[in-house]
């Protein structure tokens, strides 16, 4: 187990270096002038451009730029925004809100996804299985922003039971609708995954063995069908926590939540390349760490993995 953990952590290092390098390369080395992108359509003064290039080390060779970025990132120095605020402070303000939002979405999709998935899987072929399946298909097909608008319109405008947008420091109620919207697509995937797993485990040989022991149906379902079915679901959920943070941008924009996604969005609008790269790097890091945790979780849940 310890060996497995060590191996996974070591494997994570090249992935993180690789991803940050990739992102950095995409932003700063692609054809297209980052300085020009910063100013959009406006004409650029050559002196100003040169100054900016110097500030962001753009005048140095690419690999040096990257290493400097990495060095600074390790000390949490991501530079300043255009307005002069340290990027790390901006992130520090926005990130807790996104974490709160993502965790709520996580709980929502986990609870409802698993419950509906189990119901559908155990009663495969019944009418409510079909209903659950159709609803989950719909949730996957409709983009999050449409789901968001519809939710906003129905709950906020028409019935007025939930706030339409969240304020500066959103509370539980403010984030409830956004969290459901954010988690809706993943919930649909979890329903489908759980349903397939449960349905296939139901006919597994070891379930028949358990029944042949004389165990009650309830016990067989709990200990053998569900226990085994939930292993891939739990790992999917874990990996999803990372992508929820990345995907929060749309939801935060619709509901005007001042989280990391919205900050990223503002950065893109203003062409603040450093801010964008820093936030994306952070989110990718979170994503990779979540995946690592999932791998470890997998090893805990499934004894077969531990010994590989």
């Amino acid at each position: 187990m310890g060996r497995y953990l060590l191996r996974r952590v070591l494997q994570m290092i090249p992935v993180i270096i690789g991803t940050t390098l990739l992102i950095y390369a995409l932003v700063f080395a692609l054809p297209g002038d980052p300085v020009k992108a910063m100013f959009g359509e406006k004409p650029v003064n050559d002196a100003v451009a040169a100054q900016i290039r110097a500030e962001y080390n753009l005048d140095k060779p690419f690999i040096v730029q990257y290493l400097l970025f990495l060095k600074n990132a390790l000390t949490l120095d991501f530079g300043n925004t255009f307005s002069g605020r340290p990027v790390i402070d901006v992130i520090g303000d926005a990130f807790p809100i996104t974490i709160r939002l993502a965790l709520m979405a996580f709980v929502f999709e986990g609870v409802f996804g698993v419950i509906f998935g189990i119901i559908a899987g155990l009663k495969k072929g019944k009418w409510y299985d079909s209903v659950i399946l159709i609803v989950s298909l719909l949730l996957i097909s409709v983009p999050t922003f449409v789901t968001g608008f519809v939710g906003q319109y129905l709950f906020g405008v028409k019935w007025q039971i939930l706030p339409v947008t969240a304020g500066r420091n959103p509370g539980f109620i403010d984030l409830l609708l956004p969290a459901c919207v954010l988690g809706s697509v993943s919930m649909a995937y979890i329903i489908r995954l759980t349903r397939t797993e449960v349905a296939s485990n139901k006919t597994a040989d070891y379930v028949r063995t358990a029944r042949a022991k004389g165990m009650s149906n309830r016990k067989v379902t709990m200990r053998h069908i569900l226990r085994n079915s939930l292993i891939p679901v739990v790992t999917y959920l874990g990996a999803d926590l990372g992508s929820l943070m990345g995907g929060a941008m749309i939801t935060e924009r619709i509901f005007n939540i001042q989280g990391i996604g919205n900050t990223l969005w503002q950065g893109i609008l203003r062409g603040e390349a450093t801010l964008v790269v820093s936030i994306v790097t952070l989110l990718v890091f979170v994503f990779v760490v979540c995946n690592l945790v999932v791998d470890l979780l997998y090893a805990v849940l499934d004894p077969r993995i531990r010994y590989e």
Binding site: Y206, R208, R211, A212, G214, M215, S216, L301, R304, Y307
Partner: protein, 667 residues
Amino acid sequence: MTDNENNSKASRPLLQVTGLQVEFTTSAGPVRAVRDSSFTVYPGQWVAIVGESGSGKSTSAMSVIGLLPGTGHVTGGSIKLDGTEISHYTQKQFEQIRGKRIGLVPQDPMSNLNPVWRIGTQVKEAIVANGMDVKREKRSELAQKLADSEAEGHYHGSDDELFIGSSQLPDLMEESRKALLAAGKTEKQADEAMARFRDDWVPGSETRWRVREALIAEAVEADEAKRIATTYVTGATMDDRVAGLLTEAGLPDAAVRARQYPHEFSGGMRQRALIAIGLAARPELLIADEPTSALDVTVQKRILDHLHYLTESLGTAVLFITHDLGLAAERAQHIVVMYKGQVVESGPSLEVLQHPQHPYTKRLVAAAPSLASQRIISAKRRGDAETADESMDHKAASADTLEHAKTIIEVRDLVKEFKMPRRKEMFRAVDDVSFSVRRGTTCAIVGESGSGKSTVANMILHLLEPTSGTVLYRGQDTQGFDKKQLLDFRRHVQPVFQNPYGSLDPMYSIYRSIEEPLKIHGIGDKKSRLARVKELLDMVELPQSTMTRYPNELSGGQRQRIAIARAMALNPDVIVCDEAVSALDVLVQDQVLRLLNDLQAEKGLSYLFITHDLAVVRQIADDVVVMQHGKLVEHATTDEVFNNPKTQYTRDLLDAIPGGRLRLGLD
């Protein structure tokens, strides 16, 4: 146990199935899997249901405990357990019977244990689900009476059935040793007795009265024996009981093993755990559904011997499902033969075997490799007296003609090492093996899984590089072949693999599959290739229309015949059959073996036949190479190996052939 006793006590059948019908609902309408099948099992008896795959044997057995797969359901007939009709039971009602009254030992040890729970936990479930008292043994009525008579009236009620507990075991041992010495034994005698006790006194399995009897048998005074047994045998804990059950099933180090997971167990060990589970609640009837068909023969024999011993001492009846007639006859008193969902013949084992009356049974008996005692005589030889003489020559000459000219393949000092993951030392899969294959004969390599026999085959086929040693084909070292020579070698040495479902590309039509070798070697034009494919299909006795079909439409045996046709396409000299008939039903297996044999006689082919089944070897091979743990243990002619085995391992293998000991005197 004698049969007279058995009869008088067991006048009432334990299980009586009459006119059973089972249907599966499919999108194309109901499919009848079992029609009108009847059989009876008496307490303490082994009854075997024999049939090929799809004969309805497992379906019949599963309907007895209400565990039919998928859409299967009983549509007619009656199932009586100890006189009570159970065929209409709901799942809830079946829960009351399962485990307690009818246990199950399923077929595939790999998939029947839940991979995420410890072995011990899974055994424990069986104990808990049936509310078993872990402190004492529950014996069937029959077994209780037996115990009573065995104990010669020393039986003292249910407290005598208390198990040894692991916490009390050290004290028990100490006291026993003292008592032995007090009874006048010398130190040495006492130590010997203690060693026996250590083996026998398994916590959670051995009971108080047996401890007492054991002490008395060692000349300890009855009162003292009773005192020790009563003081120190006071019942087991759950963990003891789990370990006890696993030990009973023949699992060594059970207490440690119980904390492990299924993937840490070998197939044989898992099967033992499944037996422990099946017997955990001391059922009156155990359904054993091909419990050992996935295992090596020697392991199979050990496990079945053990199961036999266990069920006998517990008085459990066994409904034994198998495809192997020899095995059935060896293990069961009564045989039920099923074919296409119906019972075609049933009766006492030996009688059915010696005087089969239904044509299907006759066919089965004739084909069963375990019952065959000699090599298949090819069609040509059968018809032709001269060649019959030649075959005699062939046999007679076999001993002294290992000269070069007649040798087509020779293997010298072959070694293959594999790197083990995360280990320094190499694993020797094949360790210094030398033998040769004579032209026009069949050489069989026999061994159990892990013996390295397939590795040898792959090295001969030039699919695997040997670590050292040489493979000579017609006296030439195959390692030194250049590209052109290798292609030529491939043309002359062809494989037929084990898995009939994997050996043909499912995307290719049969025509394309058989044509492929011709195309690769650029032989003929389109027209001549078509003619050749037709010819090859005739050769393997399949209709020419088969060539438009796809592998998914064919049975395992048919696919294997296609694989043979493909191997024959290039007119090879040598065919390497790697477990080519192992996955097939007996009759189909027999058919394929005869085909191979006829082809050999016609074309003068040489076969290298890799198999785990010595019974098949006797039917097809001229020479035998026996391998164990990568080493060659024995290399001689078939007759010599069978009549005069030189090593213990070969004797064990021979001994493990199911039904091998039955001397039938067939018609």
